[in-house]
């Protein structure tokens, strides 16, 4: 499951951002884009956003809801939630290891 994002190549990172963005509820494309820019500090282009959305949807990590006007919201699936949790746990362990080693570094 932890390889679910790794196999996305250059879309792995944008896909992770999208999953994080959807973690607090459904959002449509523009809302995801502005949210990702707000919490990551890096803008995500429309082509990248939809490339990642298509991959996530195809793999069953997110699902599209009924369109509201011409905007279609997306939400995490159960598989998406589990995958995101596993990825974040892995990152958390990585961060703790890195910080722990910096703390133990002789000055």
């Amino acid at each position: 499951m932890t390889n679910a994002l790794g196999e996305l190549g250059r879309f792995a990172e944008p896909a992770m951002y999208i999953l994080v963005s959807l973690a607090d509820g459904p959002k449509h494309g523009y809302a995801i884009m502005t949210d990702v820019e707000a919490f990551s500090g890096a803008p995500m282009g429309p082509g990248t956003l939809y490339g990642a959305l298509a991959r996530l949807e195809r793999r069953g990590l997110i699902e599209a809801l009924e369109p509201e006007d011409r905007r279609r919201p997306y939400r995490l699936t159960t598989l998406g939630e589990t995958t995101l949790q596993a990825q974040l746990m892995q990152l958390n362990s990585f961060v703790r290891t890195g910080l722990g080693r910096l703390d133990r570094k002789p000055s």
Binding site: L8, G45, G51, A54, R71
Partner: protein, 249 residues
């Protein structure tokens, strides 16, 4: 901006065009974002995530009989690999003869085996054309090129460039089948490496001046290197992936 969205494949547009155009209308895109959309369109063509109905799995026009035939052709191709080895073994132990240019191995006894082997490989390539999914366009193109040049090479076996072109066609078939998710990775890698080895042998044979005996030895190595490609063609027909074909990311 909607003109840029038209760069995307039809199937992709029917699913995402409305939302993407809406998104682009909400915030005028910068130059970099326009490039990002173009890049996304190229990616959608190269790695389709949304397929037209009927693009997954074998062509709907392929009947169970045709699939059964393709499987039998796969067994034939594997058998052809064995026949191919026999043909070159017969060539290598053929009687040594002499003519005005020196000594050579008379491999004429191997021709029936060679003909049978090449026919079986041709059958295997035909089976690939029948059974490859619709989205595997590159693979089908490679299979067609390989089949065409296999026939040409069978008619003129001394023309090694035709063999080289056939092998390149096989490599394209393997890469295309991998990209379309129609072949397992290991099969595609084995076939590509095998084809590469054959091309290297042919180039060496052309590039350096060798006597007839060394040339025959190089040919034997090339023939042996070709066996994995042959087996890949056959085994992928015998054990095709399920109907749900997922292109690689």
């Amino acid at each position: 901006m909607s003109r840029l969205v038209r760069l995307y494949p039809g199937a992709w547009r029917s699913r995402y065009e409305v939302e993407l155009v809406e998104l682009l209308g909400e915030r005028p895109p910068t130059i970099l974002e326009r490039f990002d959309v173009i890049r996304g369109a190229v990616d959608a063509h190269l790695h389709p995530q949304v397929l037209d109905p009927g693009e997954t799995g074998p062509s709907p026009t392929v009947t169970e009989d045709a699939r059964h035939l393709a499987r039998n052709l796969g067994f034939g191709a594997v058998g052809g690999a064995a026949l191919w080895i026999v043909a070159f073994a017969v060539t290598l132990v053929g009687p040594v003869r002499y003519d005005g240019y020196g000594a050579y191995r008379d491999g004429s006894a191997a021709f029936p085996f060679l003909l049978g082997a090449v026919s079986l490989l041709g059958g295997g390539l035909g089976g690939q054309l029948v059974s490859l999914p619709r989205n595997a366009r590159l693979a089908r193109f490679g299979a067609a090129v390989a089949l065409l040049f296999l026939i040409v090479w069978g008619l003129q076996p001394w023309q090694f460039w035709t063999a080289g072109t056939m092998v390149v066609g096989l490599a394209v078939l393997a890469i295309g089948a991998y990209r379309a998710g129609a072949w397992p990775t290991r099969t595609s890698v084995a076939v590509v490496l095998s084809c590469l080895a054959v091309v290297v042998m042919i180039v060496i044979g052309y590039a350096i001046s060798v006597d007839r005996m060394t040339g025959a030895a190089l040919l034997a190595v090339a023939a042996a290197a070709f066996v994995p490609a042959w087996l890949g063609i056959g085994t992928s027909l015998i054990s095709p992936p399920g109907r749900s074909v997922t292109p690689r990311a």
